[in-house]
């Protein structure tokens, strides 16, 4: 079965971000396909490669990157939500004259159409938020 996952909270604001990751991992382990994970609202904070949590804590951003690498996941960050919160890829940073970019490996920035498409193409769309 194909799943679409929507994540609406950041890693340190609500457990939902962690639940989304655990669900995605379990779905993959059960042999299902993750069509796309869409990060919206504060969920875009899950994609900042500049986060440095203590070494004995879960690093959710790294965990998403690793999972994307291992399973070729499509991790999509909403462009409008990202720009408002200072989450930029190299191209966007250059376009706006910023001196840094912070999109973690395995993520890409795109628009809400990607969420709509996930809703159409996936068998189930699951929302995680606060």
């Amino acid at each position: 079965m194909k799943f679409g996952i929507m994540v609406n909270t950041g890693p340190y604001t609500h457990q939902a971000a962690h639940t989304a990751y655990q669900f995605t991992r379990a779905a993959l382990a059960s042999g299902h396909e993750i069509y796309r994970v869409f990060f919206y609202h504060d969920g875009v904070h899950n994609a900042s490669r500049l986060t440095v949590p203590p070494q004995d804590e879960n690093n959710l951003i790294q965990q998403w990157s690793d999972l994307a690498d291992a399973h070729n996941l499509d991790l999509v960050v909403c462009v409008a939500a990202a720009q408002r919160r200072g989450l930029l890829d190299a191209e966007t940073a250059a376009r706006h004259g910023k001196d840094a970019h912070n999109l973690a490996p395995g993520f890409r920035i795109s628009g809400l159409g990607q969420l709509v498409e996930a809703g159409i193409e996936a068998d189930r769309l699951l929302v995680f938020g606060d």
Binding site: A26, A29, S30, L125, L126, V127, G129
Partner: protein
């Protein structure tokens, strides 16, 4: 196949569980995750509502979230089924529509 309702808020902070219990249809599944799992303790203020709902709906609780909150399995209402993350995934495949009550 019926709808799976997913509730993640404590019933002592928000009314999403109450709304879900009011609006869900017979045959539906209701999965409690994150802070919502505190509802399932025997003697909780919403215990009677959950027991009433269980006459025609299935209620599940996410085991890892019970464990994280120190809620022992022998202190929860009879009839509540505990699932792990794999069970969570399976529930979403067994129901054809999902509703997250955020």
């Amino acid at each position: 196949m019926a709808m799976l309702h997913i509730v993640n808020q404590s019933p002592f902070e928000r009314d999403s569980l109450a709304s879900c219990l009011t609006l869900s249809l017979p045959g539906a599944g209701i999965l409690l995750i994150e802070d919502a799992v505190v509802a399932v303790r025997t003697g909780s203020r919403v215990a009677e509502d959950l027991l009433a709902a269980m006459t025609d709906r299935h209620i599940y609780a996410l085991g890892p979230d019970l464990d994280a909150r120190g809620i022992a399995r022998d202190t929860i209402l009879p009839g509540i089924r505990c699932v792990d993350y794999a069970g969570f995934v399976q529930l979403t495949t067994e129901h054809n529509t999902l509703q997250s009550w955020l």
